[in-house]
C-alpha cells in the first residue's frame, strides 16, 4: 500500500507527533506493515521538479494512489481562490490539488483536526477561510461533499486530534493496509472507533477526585479539573488516558485540562480554554449522556461524602495525605 502525504494549511505538528511512534520506530512500523511512502514533505529526499513529476504521474494514472494523507486544513481564501496556499513550483493552489487528488485515492485520510474539521486553522473568524476535507467544523461537507467516498468506499477517515496521537495514525494505516477498516469501524464523525469509542475521562488519574467533585482551583493543583479549570474529558473522545502520550503523558496527567482537541470546533469554546463556564455556580456542559438533575444530585451527595484525603489533596500541588493502610484485623 502506498501513501502520498500532503501538508496543507497547518502546523506540521501531526507529522512531528507521528515521528514519536514508539517501538518500533515510525519508519520500521510502516515498512513492516507493507506501507510505502511515495512522498512525504518532511521525510522524502525528492524536492522540486521530482515531486511535480510524481504528482503528474499520479494524475495520469501511471502511479496508482492507495492512500492520500492530508495534514492541515484547506485554505479557500482569498474569495474562494485558494491562493492563500499555493503548492510551490506548480502555480496551483493546494485547494485545487486536493480536489484533483482525492478522487484518485483508494482512501483519503485526514491527519489531525485541521484536515478533518478545519481545527485551529479556522479559529477566530477564520481569516484564511479554511475548511476540513469533508467537514467544516461540525457541519458535513468541507471541500469535499458529504457524499464523497474514496475509491474503496470509505468517507474521508478523520484521524482527528491536535496533534493526533502517533498510534492513531499508524494503526489507521496498518488497518487500511490489512483491509480491516470498514464503515462500521468509524464513528459518526468518521473517526476510527478504536480510539474514538473511549472518553479522555477513562483512565484519568484524577477519576477518584472526580467521583467526589474534589476539584482543583488552580493549574498546579492535583484535583479534578472539570469543575473550575475547563476540563471536558467526560465528553471528549480519545484514549489519551488509556494509552499514554510520549511515554507516560497525557494532558490531564500533566495537570492541565482536556480541551477536546479531537472534536470539531474545539478551537472555539466560547470561553477561556482553562476556565469552566458556569451558570449560577453550576458548570455548563456536564456529561452529555447523563440527566442533569441526576448529575447534580450525585454531585452534592458525593461532595458531602468526600474524604479529607481527597478534599485536601485536590487543592495541593502533590499528594499530601496518603491513603491510610487498612487496620489490621483484630
Amino acid at each position: 500500500m502506498n501513501v502520498l502525504w500532503l501538508q496543507t494549511s497547518g502546523c506540521g505538528g501531526c507529522t512531528m507527533s507521528v515521528l514519536c511512534a514508539d517501538a518500533p520506530n515510525f519508519f520500521d512500523l510502516l515498512d513492516n506493515a507493507g506501507v510505502r511512502i511515495l512522498w512525504h514533505p518532511a521525510l522524502s529526499v525528492e524536492s522540486g521538479e521530482e515531486v511535480i513529476a510524481l504528482l503528474e504521474r499520479i494524475v495520469r494514472g501511471d502511479v496508482p494512489l492507495d492512500v492520500l494523507c492530508v495534514e492541515g486544513a484547506i485554505a479557500r481564501g482569498p474569495r474562494g481562490t485558494g491562493r492563500y496556499q499555493m503548492l510551490s513550483g506548480t502555480g496551483r493552489s493546494m485547494f485545487d490539488w486536493a480536489l484533483e487528488l482525492a478522487p484518485l485515492a483508494q482512501h483519503v485520510v485526514a491527519v489531525g483536526s485541521c484536515a478533518a474539521f478545519g481545527g485551529v486553522s479556522s479559529a477566530g473568524g477564520n481569516p484564511s477561510d479554511a475548511a476540513g476535507l469533508q467537514y467544516e467544523g461540525s457541519h458535513a461537507g468541507g471541500i469535499l461533499p458529504p457524499e464523497f467516498r474514496g475509491r474503496a468506499g470509505l468517507p474521508v477517515v478523520n484521524v482527528a486530534g491536535c496533534p493526533t496521537h502517533p498510534d492513531w495514525v499508524t494503526e489507521t494505516l496498518m488497518l487500511l493496509a490489512s483491509d480491516a477498516l470498514g464503515p462500521t469501524d468509524l464513528d459518526a464523525l468518521a473517526r476510527p472507533r478504536f480510539y474514538a469509542e473511549h472518553l479522555v475521562h477513562h483512565g484519568c488519574p484524577k477519576n477518584e477526585f472526580y467521583e467526589y467533585k474534589a476539584s482543583a482551583t488552580r493549574l498546579c493543583e492535583i484535583g479534578c479539573m472539570m469543575e473550575h479549570l475547563g476540563c471536558v474529558g467526560t465528553q471528549a473522545v480519545g484514549d489519551c488516558n488509556i494509552r499514554p502520550w510520549n511515554g507516560s503523558g497525557s494532558c490531564t496527567r500533566a495537570g492541565y485540562p482536556c480541551i477536546s482537541c479531537t472534536a470539531p470546533e474545539f478551537e472555539e469554546p466560547k470561553h477561556a480554554f482553562t476556565e469552566t463556564p458556569k451558570v449560577a455556580g453550576i458548570p455548563v456542559g456536564l456529561p452529555s449522556d447523563m440527566p442533569k438533575a441526576w448529575f447534580m444530585a450525585l454531585a452534592s451527595l458525593s461532595k458531602a461524602a468526600t474524604p479529607e484525603r481527597l478534599s485536601k489533596n485536590a487543592v495541593a500541588d502533590r499528594v499530601e495525605i496518603l491513603p491510610s493502610p487498612r487496620k489490621p484485623r483484630g
Binding site: 512531528m16 514519536c20 524536492s47 521530482e50 506548480t90 473568524g125 481569516p127 480554554f273 482553562t274
Partner: protein, 475 residues
C-alpha cells in the same frame, strides 16, 4: 546556463511551504526571491480573545517549535501582567524547552539536512557510499536511530508537559505539574540515554570535548561519528564558502530563568557585541502581501492583501533592526553567547550554520543535565498569575531556529493586539523598501548551478542550512 529564471518548489524537508525564484547567469545565481506561499492569520485569530487563549492557540502555529511558541506567549503575558514565575517553574519550562530544541537540532541534521548528500550527483565522491548507508531518506540507519533517540528523549515531555507538541503545561506562573523525586531520576535516566546516543553515534566522542573546540581547524579534524562524516563532506565541497552570511547575528537569549539566561542575548555585528535593544525594530511590508504601515511589532498589524499586488512576492514580512537584516539561529546564539568556535566561524555559510547547531546540541546536553539535577522536588513549581486586565508585554525567546518574539497588548481583559516575529521571518525575509534582500536571498547570490539542474542541489544545501520553519514564518 545563461539568463534564465528558475522557480524552485515544492521545497521539502523545510517544515512548511517554500518557493524560491532564482535568476541565473554564467552558471550561478545572480539574484533570489524567497516566497512563503501560505497565509494563516494567527495574529488576527487572537484579537478579542481572553489573553490566556494565546497559550492554547500560539503553540499550534508550529508543530516543530510548539514549546518555543508556548514559551514566548507565556513571557509576553507574564510581562503584560508584571508577573514572575516560581523559579523552579521557570527552570522546568527551560528544561521542557531545551528538550524540544535538542530534539529539533537532531531531527534537522538526521532527517532534513544530511539526506541531500545521498543524491546521485555525488556518486563519485569518496564519502558517498557511507553517506547513503547512513542517511538515505526513509531507509538509512541514521534517520531511524535519530527518531528513536528523539522519541525516547521526549519521554521527558510526556512526564513534564503531558504531550508534545502542543502542551498547556507552561504557564505565566510556572508549570502545571510538580515533578517528584521519581520524575527526577527518570528524567536523568532519559538524558543519560540521550547522551549515550549522541556520544556513541552522532559525535563519536565526548560532548564536552566537542564543545571545547575553539578553532575551525580543530573542528575539521574531528573525524568520528556522523559529525565526522559531515565534516569530511564539508571539507570536500567547501561548505564554508557556500551561502555565506552577513556576519550580523541576533539572539534574544535562550532559556530565561531567575538565575539568568542559558545562552545570553545580544547583537553581533562588525565583530562587536552589543546589548539587545529592540527600539529600532520594524517590520517592513513593501514586498509582502500585507497592507498597513511599516511599524514596530508592539503597534503592528496584519492585514493580508487579498489582491496579492504584483510588487510583492511573499506572505512573509521583513523584520529590520536599525535598518539592517540579521541572521538568527543556533550559530547566532553561539556567536552572541561568546563561544570561541562560533565566533571564529561567524559570517560563514552552510558549514558555520550546521556546526553552530552541532555545537549547541553538545552544549545543550550539559544544560539539560544541570536543570534536571537542579530539580527540587519539594519546591513550588507555580506561582499562579492573576488574569491580565490591561498591559503590554513582549515575550522574547529562542526557538531552535532562532529569535522568536511575541508582542501583546491587553485591554479590558481581552487581546487588543498580538504580533509575532518568528525566526524564519528574519532569515527568509523578502526585500525591504530600500530593496535590500533578506539573509537567505543574499546568501543564495553566487551559488553555482550546473547545466540542466532544475532544483539546484547547492541551493538546497543553503536553504536547509538555515533550518527554516515556514509555518512559523507565515503564522
Amino acid at each position: 546556463m545563461s539568463g534564465t529564471r528558475l522557480v524552485v518548489g515544492p521545497f521539502n524537508r523545510v517544515e512548511g511551504d517554500l518557493e524560491v525564484s532564482l535568476d541565473i547567469d554564467d552558471g550561478a545565481v545572480q539574484s533570489a526571491r524567497v516566497n512563503a506561499p501560505l497565509y494563516r492569520g494567527f495574529e488576527t485569530m487572537l484579537m478579542g480573545r481572553p489573553p490566556s487563549d494565546a497559550l492554547t492557540l500560539t503553540p499550534r502555529i508550529c508543530g516543530i517549535c510548539s514549546i518555543s511558541q508556548s514559551s514566548a506567549a507565556v513571557h509576553a503575558l507574564a510581562a503584560a501582567g508584571g508577573h514572575r514565575p516560581a523559579p523552579q517553574g521557570a527552570a522546568m519550562a527551560a528544561l521542557i524547552h531545551a528538550v524540544e530544541n535538542a530534539a529539533d537540532h537532531l531531527a534537522h541534521f538526521n532527517l532534513f539536512f544530511m539526506p541531500d548528500f545521498t543524491r546521485p550527483c555525488y556518486a563519485d565522491r569518496p564519502w558517498y557510499d557511507r553517506t547513503v548507508e547512513r542517511f538515505k531518506a526513509l531507509e538509512g540507519a541514521a534517520p531511524k536511530q535519530g527518531i528513536e533517540a528523539r522519541t525516547a528523549l521526549m519521554h521527558i515531555l510526556g512526564l513534564l508537559a503531558g504531550k508534545w507538541p502542543h502542551t498547556l503545561a507552561i504557564q505565566p506562573g510556572g508549570v502545571t505539574r510538580a515533578p517528584g523525586p521519581r520524575d527526577k531520576v527518570r528524567i536523568m535516566a532519559s538524558l543519560t540515554a540521550f547522551r549515550r546516543f549522541l556520544e556513541g553515534v552522532v559525535f563519536g566522542g565526548s560532548l564536552e570535548e566537542f564543545a571545547a573546540i575553539e578553532t575551525p581547524d580543530a573542528l575539521m579534524a574531528w573525524d568520528t561519528g556522523d559529525v565526522g562524516l559531515f565534516l569530511r563532506i564539508a571539507a570536500d565541497l567547501d561548505l564554508d564558502a557556500l551561502g555565506r552570511g552577513s556576519g550580523r547575528y541576533l539572539s534574544f537569549g535562550a532559556y530565561p530563568m531567575s538565575s539568568g539566561h542559558g545562552f545570553d542575548p545580544g547583537l553581533w555585528a562588525e565583530g562587536r557585541l552589543d546589548p539587545l535593544d529592540l527600539s529600532g525594530l520594524v517590520e517592513d511590508l513593501s514586498h509582502a502581501w500585507m497592507l498597513g504601515e511599516t511599524s514596530h511589532p508592539a503597534t503592528g498589524q496584519t492585514l493580508p492583501d487579498e489582491e496579492m499586488r504584483a510588487e510583492a512576492y511573499t506572505w512573509c514580512k521583513a523584520p529590520r533592526l536599525n535598518g539592517q537584516t540579521y541572521e538568527v539561529g543556533a550559530i547566532a546564539r553561539q556567536v552572541v553567547d561568546g563561544h570561541p568556535l562560533a565566533r571564529a566561524l561567524a559570517g560563514g555559510g552552510v558549514l558555520a550554520r550546521v556546526a553552530g547547531r552541532l555545537l549547541e546540541l553538545a552544549r545543550t546536553q550539559g544544560l539539560m543535565e544541570d536543570l534536571a539535577r537542579g530539580i527540587e522536588p519539594g519546591a513550588a513549581f507555580m506561582d499562579p498569575a492573576p488574569d491580565v486586565q490591561s498591559g503590554t508585554g513582549a515575550g522574547l525567546v529562542e526557538a531552535a531556529r532562532g529569535a522568536l518574539g511575541h508582542w501583546v497588548r491587553v485591554q479590558d481583559g481581552r487581546i487588543a493586539c498580538y504580533q509575532i516575529i518568528a525566526p524564519t521571518t528574519w532569515n527568509f525575509s523578502p526585500r525591504d523598501a530600500r530593496d535590500v534582500p533578506g539573509p537567505l536571498e543574499t546568501a543564495l547570490v553566487g551559488t553555482p548551478v550546473a547545466e540542466g539542474e532544475t532544483t539546484p542541489v547547492a541551493v538546497q544545501h543553503i536553504v536547509r542550512s538555515f533550518d527554516p520553519c515556514m509555518v512559523c514564518t507565515v503564522h
